[in-house]
């Protein structure tokens, strides 16, 4: 780029060389730069003008130029050399230069990109500690948000730039190196990941076509390098967490619970259960009340025992006996290296997570070998990667979920799991204890349910193995033209094995339920003694093949063209089989025969119920096929003007061939201008400035739909008729189409003041077209909801990313600021649902309404509590009313209060990093603003709110309370409509805005001190995650994102060793 003209003039044997070192970005001379001549071992320092002078003999020399804060540069010079040798150095913190971005198809220099792309480098990935690689993207990438409701622990709930589908798949497409990865994200060892690129707009993502609608995450794993080695890296992390704060759960306490039980008992509420033929269980308090009523116990003793139970809290037992401190260990070792003709990367990883629920754990082993070789004078590159991983998930402890009193669902809060001397205690479950005892006396198996023993006897594991092989050939046909074939094979096998021995309640209960006590006292057991083994095997095989031709060429001085085209296909098959063995003997691996066809008599309700032995043998076969054609091209003029276009056509077996043929190709186009390269641009303070614009389409797929009437076929062996039958899955929809999302993106990338301040700004408009929407249908059509291409949405947003180097000397202070604004509006949605649907499901995005965000909170207008009896009051046609039924059926949707969106409008994070010498401290503060949440509260139902929310304590009791509380009184009689009105009234909705100190990382580099031991680098760190809320807007004093139990704080310690 800069002139480096070499005049070859032969003079005498010695010559002088004068040169000048300057910053490439600012053009400022670099004073104090070190110039080293390798051949003569000379070292000298540049003067205040960045200039230096050397006297050397004629010949070739290699110079290294080093300056702190800049990338080291090696150059070759031939002496004699006439004129001034200009040596530009690159700032090493520059965001814009020389970074290549992987799209999964090709690596593009960031300068030439026209789309919106964020690259997360290795150091940022390693800053966080997690088992799941995607979790490390939280709060570091603008436009990426992790939604926090109704989600499981290890699945990623991330969304990129809001949601552009209503009911389709909402997961971003994950690309692992070259191919889409559909497996479990937990199969990827985060220590093997080199970097992650997030493709946000159409121009970046549309190369992935019909599956790119939710954005694309490209994960690039570590490869060897062509320079030297072997380099060895070892890292180890230990994470310890706290126990979940169960005591913060807002549930009615024992005292209120028992008082409510007493009142209900007086109203004969338990009479039906007490007399039930099914022997439904009753709580200990109700049993005592019955005994007291029937004179079976001294009334004073009964009352004393009941009072005693008011002091008990089952949550304390949960914490003590079900939970422990979670402990995660993550170790990894890798070796990489290579030379001119090949490179390699080998790694092994081991994870062991002892989960917070006792006896549950997760283990993972990953092994990777990546190799590539160059042949035929480096024209042919062959690469072979093999990856194997195995993870093992043990779930013995289901937590409190299984500890229930079946007739009422939730367990009474005064339940106890162990007695004073530590023995496991039974609790009533399924049947009354009196019945259970009498059944045992008649010869049935022990029928007691002891929650703690269940954990001990459980044997429930899921084992997953995956073998991934990648094979690639890349051949340079002629200069610039490259042909490539990539093939990937994935074999996955998951075996779920739940061996419930005869000791477990599940098995004893099932055996007893079917047992018959004969007249002579013997017991016939249609379900044989022994365990019950449930096993599920799922095997998947997937082949993906891609062939592509690419052409990259610099033509003349100012034209650069790049073109890529190819096709790929995927053929994935999944076979599943699950089966059950009764009378299972684990020692000999044998089972016993049962009669599935016979109607057996229920032990509990012999006169009314006949039962069949559950038949659990199921098979399934799924096929997933894709064929895609793609092409893209880019042209760069004069290193400053860039144009890009791409097109892709996808076909799959999902919708049926006719629909695919109607499919239209998805395309995108983009422009970019590197203003800083323009001849007229002479602002010294601006190191880099680039404008980008792109427009195009991405797609999305819903795999569950078809253009035809489809039905699911069942063999019929499990039903009483014995006849095969079919269930209609989806009614015919001849107009079914792919969902499309158009994205317009404008962006600026900049770097100012010697790269002290850099960042990017993006503005986008998204339009979802032909989105699949579920619409409630009148039941007279035969269905209650229907999915079709009903909806259109419009979204817009802003992503800002700023990096500022505030202090730069021995002490360094850097601030990273990310900000996102994202707003979605439903622009077209044909049908209007009942207002109950918006109230109940709007918060989850279940019922779109035109002009409103997809995730919206609606509520009833609140008029306070009735001073006479504490009834909640609302409005009916502007008048204060308690006609709940009319309010609910007659209030038009537009008369409901629209509070706002339930997903944050503004979100982001501020990360400050301070480093002094070898110590570095960074803290990430995240914020979410501009959204609402609905607080849960008491619902009285048919049992005066028994076991409900702890707001019960705050309820209206006496006249005047309406001034102090908004919690309604206990209703005089059951009133479902009253509960619904209160639950969805505006009084329970508040702002969700909050600021959270997410995590802190403190690290220490030991490298210089240990080099004499052959250790190139050692890094120690401490990391604390989920530290807590700093500020929240709501008046309820609750964490809006975690209304149940907040995530536990975890502490990690790690070491990173380089050899």
């Amino acid at each position: 780029m800069l002139c480096l003209s070499i005049a070859v003039i032969k003079l005498n044997a010695q010559g002088a060389l004068t040169g000048q070192v300057f910053s490439k970005q600012t053009k400022d001379p670099l004073r104090g730069a070190t110039i080293k001549v390798h051949e003569t071992n000379q070292t000298l320092i540049a003067d205040s003008n960045g200039k230096f002078k050397l006297i050397l003999s004629n010949g070739d020399y290699r110079l290294s130029i080093i300056n702190i804060g800049y990338l080291k540069k090696d150059i070759l010079v031939n002496i004699p050399y006439e004129g001034l040798l200009l040596i530009p150095l690159l700032n090493d913190t520059t965001l814009l230069d020389e970074v290549t971005i992987s799209t999964g198809y090709q690596k593009i220099s960031k300068e030439r990109l026209t789309g919106s792309v964020v690259r997360v480098d290795n150091s940022l990935i390693e800053r966080r500690v997690s088992t799941n690689i995607l979790n490390r993207l939280e709060d570091v990438v603008p436009g990426v948000v992790f939604n926090r409701s109704g989600l499981s622990s290890r699945k990623s709930p991330m969304s990129i730039r809001g949601q552009s589908t209503l009911f389709g798949n909402t997961d971003p497409l994950i690309i692992l190196n070259n191919f889409p990865y559909d497996g479990d994200i937990n199969n990827i060892n985060p220590n093997d990941v080199e970097d992650i690129t997030i493709l946000k707009d159409a121009s970046a993502a549309s190369i992935w076509g019909a599956r790119a609608g939710n954005g694309v995450v490209v994960i690039t794993t570590k490869q060897g390098s062509n320079i030297g080695g072997p380099k060895v890296n070892f890292s180890s992390r230990v994470t310890i967490g706290e126990k979940p704060d169960l005591l913060s759960s807002q549930i009615m306490g024992s005292s209120d619970y028992i008082e409510t039980e007493k009142r209900l008992f007086a109203l004969n509420f338990y009479r039906s259960t007490e007399l039930s033929a099914a022997r439904a269980p009753l709580s200990p308090v109700v049993e005592l009340l019955i005994a007291k009523r029937d004179g079976l116990i001294d009334p004073r003793t009964a009352d004393e025992q009941i009072e005693g139970m008011k002091l008990l809290d089952v949550r304390e037992h949960y914490l003590k006996y079900l939970y422990r401190l979670p402990f995660n260990l993550q170790q990894s070792l890798n070796v990489m290296g290579g030379n001119q003709s090949g490179k390699y990367y080998l790694s092994a990883g081991w994870d062991k997570n002892l989960e917070t629920l006792r006896a549950n754990d997760f283990n993972r082993v990953t092994l990777t070998a990546n190799n590539s070789y160059l042949f035929l004078n480096k024209r042919l590159e062959l690469s072979a990667n093999v990856n194997f991983n195995q993870n093992n998930n043990v779930v013995q402890n289901l937590g409190s979920a299984n500890i229930t009193l079946s007739s009422l669902g939730a367990i009474y809060p005064y339940a106890q799991l162990v007695d004073d001397s530590g023995n496991s205690l039974p609790i009533a479950n399924n049947y009354r204890l009196s019945y259970v005892r009498s059944a045992e006396q008649k010869g049935l198996l022990d029928w007691a349910y002891k929650p703690l023993d269940e954990i001990r006897y459980a044997d429930n594991t899921t084992n997953y193995r995956e073998l991934r092989g990648d094979f690639g050939l890349s051949y340079k046909v002629i200069d610039g033209l490259r042909a490539k074939i990539l093939y990937q094979y994935i074999y996955g096998n998951s075996i779920g094995r739940n061996n419930r021995s005869q000791e477990t309640f599940f098995t004893r209960n099932l055996i007893n339920t079917y047992s018959i006590i004969n007249a002579n006292g013997s017991v016939t057991r249609p379900i044989p003694l022994g365990g019950i083994l449930d096993q599920t095997d799922i095997t998947s095989n997937s082949h993906q093949l891609r062939t592509q031709l690419s052409y990259d060429k610099q033509i003349g001085k100012s034209h650069y063209i790049s073109f890529l085209s190819g096709y790929e296909f995927k053929d994935g098959e999944t076979q599943s089989r699950s089966f059950r063995i009764y009378g299972y003997d684990d020692m000999h691996a044998t089972g016993q025969l049962v009669d599935y066809q016979k109607n057996h008599v229920s032990q509990v309700t012999p006169t009314t119920t006949t039962l069949r032995i559950p038949y659990m043998d199921i098979m399934g076969s799924l096929t997933d096929r894709f064929v895609s054609y793609f092409a893209n091209g880019a042209y760069t003029f004069d290193s400053q003007y860039n144009a890009y276009a791409s097109i892709r056509l996808d076909q799959s077996n999902i919708f049926g061939v006719n629909t695919n043929q109607k499919g239209i190709p998805l395309w995108s186009t983009g422009l970019a201008w590197n203003i800083d390269r323009a001849g007229f641009f002479k602002v010294r303070e601006i190191n880099a400035l680039k404008l980008r614009f792109s427009y195009g389409y991405n797609g999305n797929v819903d795999r569950s739909l078809s253009a035809y009437t489809t039905a699911q076929y069942y063999a019929g062996s499990t039903v009483s008729t014995g006849l095969p039958y079919a269930t209609i899955q989806n009614p015919p929809n001849p107009n079914l189409r792919w969902e499309r999302v158009s994205v317009m993106n404008t962006g600026i990338d900049f770097s100012l003041f010697n790269s002290r301040l850099s960042g990017s700004f993006d503005y986008y408009i998204k339009r979802g077209k032909d989105l699949l929407g579920a619409t409630p249908f009148p039941p007279s059509t035969g269905i209650t909801s229907f999915r079709g291409n009903y909806a259109h949405t419009k979204g817009k947003g802003v992503d800002i990313s700023l990096q500022s180097i505030n202090v730069k000397s021995i002490l360094n202070w850097q601030t990273n600021f990310i900000f996102s604004y994202s707003k979605d509006i439903v622009t077209s949605y044909e049908l209007i649902a009942a207002n109950a649907n918006y109230l109940e499901q709007g918060i989850n995005g279940g019922f779109p309404l035109v002009g409103k965000p997809l995730y919206a909170i609606y509520s009833y207008k609140w008029a306070g509590l009735d001073p006479l009896n504490g009834d909640p009051m609302g409005y009916l046609a502007d008048n204060i009313s308690k006609s709940y039924a009319q309010m609910q059926t007659l209030t038009p949707v537009d008369k409901l209060i629209f509070n706002g969106t339930s997903r944050p409008l503004y979100y982001g994070a501020v990360r400050n990093t301070v480093s002094f010498k070898n110590i570095s401290l960074s803290a990430n503060i995240s914020y979410r603003l501009g959204y609402y949440f609905r607080k849960s509260s008491i619902s009285y139902g048919g049992n005066q709110g028994l076991g409900g929310h702890s707001d019960y304590e705050l309820r209206w009791k006496n006249a005047g309370d309406e001034l102090k509380t908004f919690v309604p009184s206990i209703p005089a009689s059951n009133n479902a409509r009253r509960d619904i009105f209160y639950a969805y009234s505006e009084i329970l909705v508040d702002k969700g805005d909050h600021i959270r100190l997410q995590d802190v990382n403190l690290s220490y580099d030991l490298d210089s001190k240990l080099s004499k031991f052959g250790i190139k680098g050692v890094k120690l760190f401490v990391y604390i995650d989920n530290i807590g809320l700093i500020w929240k807007a709501n008046d309820f004093d609750i964490d809006p994102d975690f209304q149940g139990i907040p995530p536990v704080r975890t502490y990690s310690f790690g070491i990173n060793l380089n050899l």
Partner: protein
């Protein structure tokens, strides 16, 4: 250079080498697009859809069961509580499965009928095709009938002015149908069932599949409801003449867990077609008891007293009758139609044919009556006793039907939490309201209660 040319050629030809069949593979093997006879049969054999059309709530609204105050308060859903006291707002926004279930079966029937229409002419001549069409028409017609009995006025001479129900005749779920008149509803019910009657075989391998006998029984019931006593009587008699499967209850063991043979797959000779009702918590609740007035109707020599009813430890009386469209009802229809036409002795012969299988052997003689009214009263009592307390129960239909005749009208009373609730004959609350979900999405005229 040849090699290079070859590589480029290989890449280009690869683009066209993919076969169409590659994308025709079904995403899941168990998924089917119904086209064949076997597919249609599988849809109709989905008995948990097709044979679950009978109403369950109506039993709460008749004089067959009694709930205590506590049991009533503890009922889990609003429709149950409100049915019991005939509250105007029945559902409180909840789903009414008495509306949804028949329409779901009608949708399946329409999918099958449409699929059959699209078959070749050769296929349409086959007995298989006729049988399937007959079965689909049966389920559609009977579905409309069950709906009309809850959501419409009793059929009478004002049927042309009263509202009917939507009558979807096509599987396209995007079509909308208005309520039309009650006359139109009954015209469609008769049209579907009359055609089904001509197409269906007399016997089937399972009790879930409609037969011509079950269709005759259903048509007899409908004609009786409409007051077409000649047609109803003829249909009932033709059914009895072809099949006389009444069980002598003297052979049943009243102390057995379940005295009746399981109807499915092909037991219980009295059942012509398995048809279950929407199930509710109250049906299994131990505190739901049989109305003592009903229980008192059974004499000690009536075997049904011990076979239909059990008492539990608390002394409450529970019912364990069997369900479905059954032969005894056909006998009762025949007897009633004879009586309506003043053929009193034929009527009593028919009634005795049923009663002699129900009473202890040789304990009763054929009854004699002096008037049509006397005969009808005997038959109505027998209907209450034979067809009580389950999905066979005709009490709701009989209350609606007989309230139109001043002689036989009934006033129902309930005592709940110290309050008296009363349902007068021909009260507007005999017509159930159409559920919110339907009204909101499909602006029908609501039934006023």
């Amino acid at each position: 250079m040849k090699l290079k040319f070859f590589i480029v050629l290989m890449f280009c030809t690869g683009l066209f080498s993919c076969k169409k069949e590659f994308l025709e593979e079904k995403p899941s093997k168990s998924l089917l697009v119904p086209t064949t006879f076997a597919d249609m049969q599988a849809l109709l054999d989905n008995y948990r859809i097709m044979n679950f059309q009978a109403p369950g709530l109506t039993m709460l609204a008749t004089d067959e069961v009694i709930l205590g105050d506590a049991t009533w308060s503890a009922l889990s859903t609003a429709p149950q509580r409100n049915s019991y006291v005939w509250a105007a707002d029945l559902a409180e926004g909840a789903t009414i499965f008495e509306w949804n279930n028949p329409y779901m079966a009608i949708f399946y029937a329409n999918v099958v009928l449409d699929g059959l229409d699209n078959m070749s002419d050769a296929d349409k001549d086959s007995p298989e095709w006729k049988k399937l069409r007959g079965a689909a028409l049966f389920f559609r017609g009977s579905g409309f009938f069950y709906l009309s009995q809850l959501f419409c006025e009793q059929y009478d001479d004002k049927a042309n002015a009263n509202l009917g129900i939507p009558l979807p005749l096509h599987p396209d779920v995007n079509r909308r149908y208005g309520r039309g008149t009650l006359q139109e509803t009954f015209d469609r019910i008769l049209m579907d069932l009359n055609e089904a009657y001509t197409l269906l075989p007399e016997k089937e391998v399972s009790k879930i599949r409609p037969t011509s006998l079950a269709t005759a029984a259903m048509l007899a019931r409908i004609n009786l409801t409409m007051g077409n006593y000649n047609e109803a009587g003829e249909l009932a008699n033709s059914c009895i003449s072809k099949y006389d499967g009444l069980i002598d209850y003297n052979v049943l063991n009243p102390s057995s867990f379940n005295p009746f043979e399981e109807t499915l797959p092909n037991g219980n000779a009295e059942v012509l077609l398995y048809m279950a009702s929407v199930s509710y918590a109250f049906q299994g609740a131990s505190t739901t008891t049989v109305d003592p007035n009903l229980y008192a109707l059974y004499e000690e020599i009536d075997t049904r007293k011990k076979i239909f009813f059990t008492t539990n430890t608390a002394g409450l009386i529970n019912s364990r009758n069997y369900g479905g469209i059954s032969l005894p009802e056909v006998y009762l229809i025949s007897a009633e139609c004879y009586a309506r036409n003043n053929a009193l002795s034929e009527s009593m012969v028919m009634l005795h044919r049923l009663r002699e299988k129900r009473y202890i052997k040789n304990s009763i003689a054929q009854q004699t009556v002096l008037s049509r009214d006397e005969a009808l009263r005997l038959i109505f009592i027998e209907r209450r006793k034979e067809l009580s307390c389950n999905s066979r129960s005709m009490r709701w239909y009989d209350l609606k039907r007989l309230n139109k005749e001043q002689l036989y009208e009934t006033t129902l009373k309930r005592y709940v939490n110290g309050q008296v609730h009363e349902l007068l004959p021909n009260d507007r609350r005999y017509v159930y309201p159409i559920p919110d979900q339907e009204i909101i999405r499909h602006q029908h005229v609501q039934n006023q209660r």
